[in-house]
């Protein structure tokens, strides 16, 4: 199993550009998450999904959109990139149930200039 994979690893965007961060998991997990980690800070939840076709906002959703058309994929869309979105983005997944552990991807570093 590859676990949770994210692409790209690093990207530079210009202000106003758009892009999609890809996240795929091969563990058949129902729950998936997007977090962002700003320099010197902990991770903050952007969006989450409890299954295909179901998404909901986390703590910091503004400026982002998500979709979940399959169990495996959970892409994060930035429509109009802003410098405040410069961050490291982590995708995570877990099986249903609070006792289950979240598995994190390696992260995508995004720089908006």
């Amino acid at each position: 199993n590859a676990g949770v994979t994210q692409t790209p690893k690093f990207r530079i965007l210009k202000i106003g550009q758009s892009m999609t961060l890809q996240c795929t998991q091969d563990m058949n997990h129902n729950y998936m998450y997007w977090y962002r980690q700003d320099p010197g800070m902990g991770l903050k939840l952007i969006y989450y999904s409890v299954g295909a076709g179901i998404t909901d906002k986390g703590e910091v959703p503004n400026g982002y959109n998500v979709s979940r058309s399959t169990t495996e994929d959970f892409p994060l869309r930035l429509e109009l990139a802003a410098p405040s979105q410069t961050s490291v983005y982590f995708c995570a997944s877990k099986p249903q149930g609070p006792q289950e552990t979240q598995y994190f991807g390696p992260g995508t570093r995004l720089l908006v200039l």
């Binding site: 729950y31 010197g40 800070m41 902990g42 991770l43 939840l45 986390g58 289950e100 552990t101």
Partner: protein, 116 residues
């Protein structure tokens, strides 16, 4: 909403020493989980240990153990016989059971440096 506070931005100890990282949290929930995650320079988030709030016994994983004080809302991590590979950022995290699909709330982290 929950908050997680880590009051030690950075700590440094000698190899083989024991070190304790502090974490406090604020919540009105009674049913929750607490976690410690390690983030080495590779940025990969690695689960170190977790504690279920309903369990009174403190969790242990090899050299890592916690001191969970529910009434005080305190959740410290003790690393025994520290090793150079323990150098990393350590994040304390909170998960409310049944809300936000088990999303995690993180503290700001403690940068732990193990000196040779």
């Amino acid at each position: 909403a929950q908050t997680v506070t880590q009051s030690q931005p950075e700590m440094s100890v000698q190899e083989a020493e024991t070190v304790t990282l502090s974490c406090t949290y604020d919540t009105s929930e009674n049913n929750y989980y607490l976690f410690w995650y390690k983030q080495p320079p590779s940025r990969q988030m690695i689960l170190v240990i977790r504690q279920e709030a309903y369990k009174q016994q403190n969790a242990t994983e090899n050299r890592f153990s916690v001191n969970f004080q529910k009434a005080a809302k305190s959740f410290s991590l003790k690393i025994s016989d520290s090793q150079l590979g323990d150098t990393a950022m350590y994040f304390c995290a909170f998960m409310k059971v049944g809300g936000g699909a088990d999303g995690l709330t993180f503290g700001k982290g403690t940068h732990l440096i193990i000196q040779p």
